[in-house]
């Protein structure tokens, strides 16, 4: 190694310059190590005095019944600027809240309404203790304690501070609930884009997807049902010839309502393919990794969502395409949902062969999260049984009763018992029998 270096030195003038540079860089390294030692030995914690003005300026505000709430979500860099610590690295995201109480009663903010598994301020502080002196640790504790949101909010006062939540990129969806002496619950819902990751649906130019003459309006349920039945059964690969997974979901509602419904139910957005580079992504961005593209309406999905279970390798994923249909003035989305049960040894995702399970899961999921308004079924494909399954594009086999779930989502919470069933196609009663025999 050394010899080669010497040879080069003699060979070119350009390399001569490198020789001069080399000791210098070593010097820098030494300085670095030295200063590192100094830092580790007596790291101090000196955050800037907190200036809430920037949050207040861009905060989203909502008012209900005498309570005004402003909320802002801090990005990774902003968090570091405020706390002098990298909270994002530990999976913690700070939400700034300001609550103004114009009622006659004392009010409380239950932090669990924002995040059921929120972190306590001193817990976050403790996670960042290592490498600091005893005095600095105390400073960190005090700083977090001082700036966390404190209850109660007395009548006629304003209270502000941070709530420490689990990290979510893309769009942060959360509720803020305020309860108090008047035995009333006020619920505020926020959807706030987080700086950093670019999600797939922000890449879509919605206006240019369909020209105005391509749009098809439906008023009659019968005509709409016929149009859905006439859709191709399945998504395809890029060339449009080979059939992939079946279309088994139709969602009716505005894009924002669907986004809200899915995010509130714990679904996550995925990154846009153009902005996502697996080599440069930070580890916590892995869960936003784009899904493999499938094609419908001659294009890849407009938006993809995933909901992980215990690990990222066990998840449900949903792809959605905006259709040219408009039913009673509402947009119609066509989708494909499947459940991934494991990642096999060969790095391949294994898809649950009973695809109807995933369809049923989404219906229940939205139902429990009070975002489902109505549902019904339409036949879009034929029956494939367990013993004679159908093959999808990437070699997965699946079986199905051939029905497609149609759901209407709602922005306003729908109580459990108010969800309506639209009797277009009867659900299969003897599903297990139907798919087992033959």
């Amino acid at each position: 190694m050394r010899r080669i270096w010497r040879l080069e030195k003699m060979d070119s003038v350009e390399n001569n310059r490198r020789i001069v540079v080399l000791p210098k860089s070593m010097c820098t390294l030494a300085v670095c190590i030295l200063s590192g030692v100094v830092f580790w030995g007596c790291a101090t914690f000196n955050p800037q005095p907190l200036n809430e003005q920037p949050f207040r300026e861009r905060a989203v505000a909502q008012t209900e019944n005498g309570i005004r709430i402003s909320a802002a979500v801090l990005g990774a860099e902003e968090t570091e600027a405020v706390f002098g610590l990298q909270l994002y690295k530990k999976g913690i995201q700070t939400v700034w809240l300001e609550i103004e109480n114009n009622t006659q009663n004392r009010m409380w903010l239950p932090q669990v309404s924002v995040d059921r598994n929120y972190f306590s301020p001193l817990e976050v502080a403790y996670m960042h203790h290592s490498g600091y002196t005893k005095a600095a640790k105390q400073n960190i504790d005090r700083y977090f304690h001082q700036h966390a949101f404190r209850n109660p909010i007395d009548a006629g006062t304003v209270q502000s501070g941070f709530v420490f939540t689990n990290l979510e990129l893309g769009t942060k969806a959360f509720n803020v609930e305020v309860i108090g002496g008047d035995q009333q619950v006020r619920t505020f819902t926020f959807l706030i884009p987080v700086t950093g990751l670019k999600v797939d649906h922000r890449d879509v130019d919605w206006d240019s997807l369909y020209a105005s003459h391509q749009r098809i309006d439906f008023e009659s349920p019968k005509a709409f049902k016929t149009a859905i039945e006439a859709l191709p059964c399945c998504t395809t690969g890029e060339d449009g010839t080979r059939l992939a997974d079946p279309i088994n979901i139709v969602i009716i509602g505005s894009g924002e309502d669907i986004l809200y419904a899915l995010l509130r139910s714990g679904w996550g957005e995925t990154a846009s393919v153009s902005s996502y580079d697996p080599m440069t992504q930070l580890s916590w961005e892995f869960r936003y990794q784009p899904v493999k593209s499938l094609y419908f309406f001659n294009r890849a999905q407009d938006a993809a969502f995933r909901k992980s279970r215990s690990t990222l390798n066990e998840r449900n994923q949903l792809r959605l395409w905006l259709s040219p249909f408009v039913y009673n003035g509402q947009h119609v989305w066509v989708g494909q949902i499947s459940r991934i049960i494991r990642r096999s040894v060969w790095e391949k995702f294994v898809i649950e062969p009973d695809v109807d399970e995933a369809r049923g899961y989404l219906r229940q999921d939205l139902w429990y999260n009070q975002t489902l308004l109505k549902y019904g079924y339409v036949r879009t494909g034929s029956v494939a049984t367990l013993s004679e399954p159908r093959k999808s594009l990437y070699g997965d086999s699946y079986f199905t009763d051939g029905l497609c779930l149609v759901i209407w989502v709602s922005r306003e919470p729908v109580s459990f018992s108010d969800v309506q069933f639209v009797p277009w196609e009867a659900p299969v009663t003897e599903r297990r029998k139907l798919l087992l025999v033959r």
Binding site: P110, Q111, V112, S113, R116, N117, S120, P121, L122, E123, Y126, M127, D141, R142, H145, N151, P152, D154, I179, G181, Q183, Q184, V185, R309, S310, E314, R339, I341, R342, V350, E352, P353, D354, E357, G360, Y361, Q364, D365, W367, Y368, L386, S387, F416, S417, D418, V419, Q420, F421, P427, V428, T429, E430, R431, R432, L435, L436
Partner: protein, 416 residues
């Protein structure tokens, strides 16, 4: 010659693949676990459920599902109503497994035919979710493993919008639980019991309780007793279990081993044991915990039955702490570092029970003694804590309490 030998080897090998592991589950009717089944009836719908133990599960499914963290729950729904009803497995376990998923994780390594049979057997044992009038549907839902008592709800939705909710608490053989060994009635002699009808007297009693837990000798003080729970055993138990708290195992060699593995692998062993703290001269009567992310992130709760009743309800004295990490100590080598802001943890518990509809009333009362952040007190393992000196008094309920119905009594105002 060489070719023939190769062929023979291949033939032998493929026989091994297809024939070796045979899949022989024993049909449901041969298992005894159905004897433990519980039935509940609401408005013309009968729901019967049972939970097989680890050994019974091995028999019925021919593979060890418990080892994979999967617990099958058997459900039979009889619809004597006039409308079809939907059964929603998400209500039972939001992260339930599908039958083919449970089969997939149990697949044999080298048996294609065995795996195929397993798939269709599991699929057949699954639960249909649509129940027509006049029919009975039964089958298994594959849930995440809960040892001790399996608590779950079965939500049924009629197509007419009628909601029926059935709550089940089914003991599963196999786990030693703290409180199941204790005979609560025998804890105190009959003449020791005191009953309070008057609020003022009760407040005075609560304020006079010791501030903190102590060590076995009673010579040193530990964590603050910042919790009073009012309610009978059932109420307390159901309210906490519904909020996602787990019972804990008493420390045995086996359980310590399991905790060790969970700690090393960063995974979580939900029933890991807690160490004993002392009040009334004995260790806790019940210990519960709630896991958040990993094993270091848990909330711990210990309860002791007090020798008093308030308006006919039992009264429990308790201690709650939030584990925020693990640290080394000279006393027990490794211990959980607790959140020094114990009032924060106390407030979390109020919210937690409130949001899971297990809280009917709450208030605050003095008795712990003020310890400001500048001059904290220390628990038995040397962790500092600070507090406003108040205890939360919680009236719990086994019946769900609507969110806006929860009452706050102004015994003591929360400090600013």
């Amino acid at each position: 010659m060489g070719l023939r030998r190769h062929l023979l080897l291949i033939a032998l090998f493929s026989m091994a693949i297809h024939g070796c592991a045979s899949y022989n589950p024993r049909p449901l009717s041969e298992s005894l676990f159905l004897d433990r089944a519980q039935t509940k009836i609401e408005n013309n719908v009968h729901v019967k459920t049972a939970v097989p133990s680890a050994a019974e599960t091995r028999q019925i499914f021919g593979v060890d599902l418990y080892q994979k963290g999967i617990q099958p729950v058997w459900i039979e729904i009889e619809n004597r109503d006039e409308k079809p009803i939907w059964f929603l497995p998400v209500g039972l376990d939001p992260m339930y497994f599908t039958p083919l998923e449970a089969a997939y994780v149990s697949h044999f390594r080298f048996s294609v035919t065995g795996n195929k049979r397993m798939d269709s057997y599991f699929f057949e044992q699954g639960k249909d979710s649509y129940v027509h009038p006049g029919t009975i549907r039964s089958g298994f839902v594959f849930t995440n493993l809960d040892e001790g008592t399996k608590s779950f709800v079965v939500d049924l939705l009629g197509e007419d919008g009628q909601v029926r909710t059935f709550t089940f608490f089914i003991p599963v053989p196999g786990l030693k639980i703290d409180h199941s060994k204790i005979d609560f009635k025998e804890l105190y002699p009959a003449d020791m019991w005191q009953n309070f009808e008057d609020e003022e007297d009760f407040i005075a009693y609560l304020q006079g309780l010791p501030c903190c837990t102590v060590n076995p000798k009673g010579s040193e003080s530990g964590d603050p007793l910042n919790l009073i729970v009012v309610g009978n055993g059932e109420d307390v138990y159901h309210a906490f279990i519904r909020a996602g708290w787990d019972e804990t195992e008493t420390i045995t060699a086996g359980s310590a081993w399991k905790t060790g593995i969970a700690y090393l692998s960063g995974g979580h062993y939900r029933h890991s044991p807690v160490s004993a703290l002392y009040v009334f001269g004995r260790p806790q009567d019940a210990a519960l915990q709630k896991t958040r992310g990993r094993i270091h992130e848990r909330n711990h709760l210990r309860l002791w039955l007090a020798p008093v009743q308030f308006k006919g309800n039992l009264v429990w004295v308790g201690q709650i702490s939030r584990d925020i990490g693990v640290r080394f100590t000279t006393k027990t080598i490794v211990t959980h570092k607790i959140d020094p802001d114990v009032d924060e943890t106390r407030s979390y518990l109020i919210q937690d029970l409130w949001y899971s509809q297990g809280l009917s009333k709450f208030t605050l009362v003095k008795g712990v003694g003020l310890a400001p952040i500048e001059t904290p007190r220390y628990n038995l393992v040397g962790d500092p804590y600070f507090t406003d000196g108040l205890r939360a008094v919680l009236w719990v309920s086994s019946q769900p309490v609507a969110f806006e119905k929860v009452e706050f009594l102004e015994w003591e105002l929360p400090p600013k």
